[in-house]
Amino acid sequence: MAKGVWIVAEQRDGVLRKISFELASTARKLADQLGEEVCAILLGSGIEGIAGELSKYGVDKVYVADNAALEPYTTDAHAMAAAKVVKENDPSILLLGASIQGKDLSGRLVGKLATGMAADCTDVKIADSKLLATRPMYAGKCYGEIVFSSTPQMASLRPNVFPIVENPKAGTVVKFDPALDPSQLKTKVLEVQKDTSGKVDLTEANFIVSGGRGMKGPEGYQIIEGLADVIGATVGASRAAVDAGWRPLSDQVGQTGKVVSPNLYIACGISGAIQHLAGMSSSKYIVAVNKDPEAPIFAKADYGVVDDLFKIIPELTEACKKLLAE
């Protein structure tokens, strides 16, 4: 009989990623309802030291495979190692992150385990001692509830949705041999190239400050960059600003540019033509600063300021600076 709530923890360069703690906290909650253990799989090289951190969030047992072939991440090696330890221990629930790495791994793993999986879940709970997973469908128009007919009941959890709850456990570390068959490892990482700009990509940014035709010229963007620096935001632009050559194409938000959904989108001097709205209207909070009270952006904005942005933005920057200093 399958038993135990398991997670696949994620680490990069020897540091556990936030999603690992979200997985651990969620697994703990489910395990408590079932009266079962929480186990984590941790794969990599030179990572034994960080296994203990997972216990802080309610993991009872961490299965660690410390092997040079597991670093850096490859789908082949990680799927092989995880499948081995899961098959040996037969857990009832297995959770992964719907992160880039988790999405990559879960497909291969679910095949190796010949089970079913609910991807990109926004909620998981126990009903009748079984896992019930909720996931958005049709681009968020409705939610599907998924139950499983085989074990492990596998689900990947959308990052930044599940709360992190501290719940320290004694936590034991179990080392296991991933038994990697070199002939089966078909990919080899030759080189890792990191984006050195240090700038968060628009599509991943939490905060975005965007400027449009109202910026009047490339110089205008200095005040936007000032605000962005203070609140840790990425700078975006409307098509008008990009076409005018004030900003690079990579900054363009909208129908033909990037589609973004940050928590906060500050639109400065952007009228909000539908082509722009199509790229940012799914932002959580939209703030608009525009001189024209008729600008359609105000219909979409949660907060709007009808005023000269060259006056408002510096004031806002100062206010944020003060607030953050406190």
């Binding site: 129908q255 589609v259 033509a273 539908i274 082509q275 209207s281």
Partner: protein
């Protein structure tokens, strides 16, 4: 009449010509047969009428003379002049075998008249050739490219004329009873030769020039098939086999479920008619001259697409013919049609504005070829501009390219008391609002204005509300036939479910696709564009335009309304019905109108090469000094509004839809 030896020699010459001509013709026809089957044998009478109607009065090249395309006059003169000469060659040869078979057979007057006309024609042809040479080598309009073939034909035709006159002159001098009295050039030359003391040699020289003449003309007959002058023969057939399906409709992919490949990536996947197009092209360059992509510095040049496809067809001919014959082929790395012969950039640059097809004198179908190659790129390779991906996905999820929640589609109509067909399926007209009219704030204003006009006129109409879907124009023209068919079928099912018979749209793209492409899926409706409908309402006195409107207006012909549907007059009629209306035309108007840049799914793509097409069109409007650009299309409205902002004219210039202008003038 010739001697026995002469006759044998002439027969030999003719024999060589016939053999060389038919070998080449056989080859060309075999190449055409490599193309896919396509039935173009319907409506023979209509086809014949069209082809003759284009060729005989030379309408094909004269249709734009009024717009400054004077080259057509030169073509006409050459065509008539040379045609007369072709008849004279018949007489020459016939006469060579039996001397009674001359124009004199039809009487003295006919004979005189014939040679008079021939001399006039010869003079005209020589003048035209000199003009053509000056134009091509001195004036050098950008649409003409210098090519050796063009030079050869000018020289050959010129020498044919000269040889003819020399022959005529010496013949007149050598004969005791001149064969004609009215050949004024021949007579003048005969007099000249007489003064030069050539009378003794006149007979020999006339014989010499006769043979020279025959050799050149027979050689020319062969050369036609080997050069771009294939046009002289192929264009007649191309006009005869022109597309009779609704103007601008695309052939749907019929076997979506079973087909193994979609769209076109190999030259032999085109139908034979599309290959015949390649023969018919004579590099006149009118298409490129009128193409908004070419004019704005993009890579697409429609003429080059056709010419490069033609070169590709000939370059791979032997390989393809052998393959068809079942002969084993060594794997040869020929050019890839997409990528090397026609680049992806060229394929995506096209706005589907149809300016090329409208101007083409020989009915070449450029846009269909480009859209078929798009289909291949999208459906087989999934290679298309990334911005288009966003639009496709949004159309899939929310049935509009912007991805705005489908349930909000009818929000614009909330406070207007407009019934949906669920509430009242017995209305006479369905107002198919379309995506722009439903979701774009600017477009919504147009929808409201038009709905108000309909209500005032007491028209019985309803909307589909949230049951309406995207019309699929951008999916179809963006090469995503699969998505388009899903969208179209869903809409047709909904509309047929309500028994819809008459539809009005405010968007020419929806208008065109519902009218011309939906019938392929069983959606057959009477479709009206709102400008047609409003024009009728004015005619029937159902609405009154009482308030004079200030300022100068200019009307921008949308491609999908004008060129695609020949609706040019109604919008102008509406505007002129407004009191105090001052209307001016842009330099490019009616069929020569310049695209706004948004057609062919370009609305959803970046335009980062060359100048922006909408800015160029805006400049053309600014040049009229108008303060309002009137349009009948939401895409044009967006593009021109953007252009006005780009040109910093917001304070002095605006663009409005015809419906908004009418509603203003109704002053309710």
């Amino acid at each position: 009449m010739l001697t026995i030896a002469g006759k044998i020699f002439l027969l030999l010459l003719i024999g060589i010509t016939v053999v060389a001509f038919s070998r080449r013709a056989k080859f060309l026809i075999a190449l055409l047969k490599l193309g896919k089957a396509e039935d173009r044998s319907d409506q023979v009478g209509k086809r014949l009428k069209f082809a003759l109607g284009q060729v005989l009065p030379q309408r094909c090249v004269l249709k734009h003379v009024a717009k400054g395309d004077f080259a057509g006059i030169g073509h006409m003169l050459l065509f008539y002049g040379f045609s007369l000469f072709v008849i004279s060659y018949g007489f020459h040869i016939a006469e060579g075998f039996y001397e009674k078979l001359s124009p004199a057979l039809f009487g003295r007057t006919f004979n005189n008249l014939f040679f008079l006309l021939l001399d006039i024609a010869g003079t005209i042809v020589i003048t035209s050739i000199v003009w053509a040479a000056i134009r091509r080598y001195v004036i050098r309009p950008p649409r003409l490219k210098l090519s050796m073939e063009a030079g050869i034909i000018l020289i050959v035709v010129f020498s044919l004329m000269v040889l003819n006159f020399l022959m005529e002159g010496f013949r007149l001098l050598s004969e005791e009873t001149p064969f004609t009295a009215w050949a004024f050039v021949g007579m003048a030359l005969a007099n000249l030769f007489l003064k030069m003391g050539l009378q003794d040699k006149a007979f020999v020289l006339s014989q010499f020039f006769w043979w020279a003449h025959m050799t050149v003309i027979l050689g020319f007959g062969i050369y036609i098939l080997y050069s771009k002058h294939l046009h002289i023969l192929a264009s007649h057939f191309n006009l005869f086999f022109h597309s009779t399906s609704p103007k601008g409709s695309l052939q749907q992919i019929t076997d979506m479920e079973e087909a193994e490949s979609f769209g076109i990536s190999k030259i032999t996947e085109f139908s034979w008619k599309h290959l015949l197009d390649l023969y018919a092209c004579t590099e006149c360059g009118r298409c490129t001259d009128n193409c908004p992509a070419s004019n704005s510095g993009k890579r697409l040049k429609p003429e080059e697409v056709i010419q490069n496809l033609k070169k590709h067809l000939f370059a791979s001919a032997n390989h393809l013919l052998a393959e068809k014959a079942g002969e084993k082929q060594e794997e040869t790395e020929g050019q890839a049609m997409i990528g090397e012969v026609v680049t992806e950039e060229e394929i995506w640059d096209c706005t589907n504005c149809m300016a090329c097809m409208e101007i083409c004198p020989v009915a070449i179908e450029h846009v269909n070829k480009i859209d078929d190659m798009r289909r291949y790129l999208v459906l087989m390779e999934s290679k298309f501009p990334s911005a288009l991906q966003t639009a496709f996905r949004n159309m899939e999820n929310n049935s509009n390219p912007w991805g705005i929640g489908a349930h909000t589609r009818a929000d614009w109509a909330k406070d207007l008391g407009i019934k949906t067909l669920t509430e009242d399926p017995n209305v006479e007209y369905l107002f198919y609002v379309g995506c722009a009219g439903s979701f774009d704030d600017r477009g919504k204003k147009v929808s409201v204005a038009f709905a108000n006009i309909l209500k005032t006129a007491g028209v019985s109409f309803g909307i589909l509300g949230s049951e309406e879907g995207c019309c699929g124009d951008s999916a179809m023209r963006g090469g995503n036939e699969y998505l388009y068919q899903i969208i179209a079928q869903a809409n047709i099912e909904t509309m047929n479910g309500y028994g819809v018979k008459k539809i009005i749209t405010t968007c020419p793209h929806g208008y065109n696709i519902i009218k011309k492409d939906y019938p392929q899926f069983g959606g057959k409706y009477e479709v009206y564009h709102h400008t047609e409908f409003i024009a009728d309402l004015i005619d029937q006195d159902k609405i009154k335009l009482k308030k004079p409107l200030e300022g100068l207006f200019t009307y921008h012909d949308s491609c999908f309304l004008g060129r695609y549907n020949d609706i040019y007059d109604q919008p102008r009629k509406i505007l002129q019905a407004i009191p105090g209306m001052k209307l001016t035309e842009m330099e490019r108007n009616h069929a020569r109108s310049f695209c706004c840049g948004a057609g062919g799914a370009r609305m959803w793509m970046e335009e980062d090469v060359g100048e922006r097409i909408n800015d160029m069109r805006t400049d053309q409007a600014i040049a009229t000094k108008a303060d309002t650009i009137a349009v009948g299309c939401p895409f044009c409205l967006t593009m021109l509004t953007d252009g006005i902002k780009d040109r910093k004219r917001e304070e002095t210039m605006t663009s409005l839809d015809i419906a908004e202008i009418v509603w203003k003038a109704m002053d309710m």
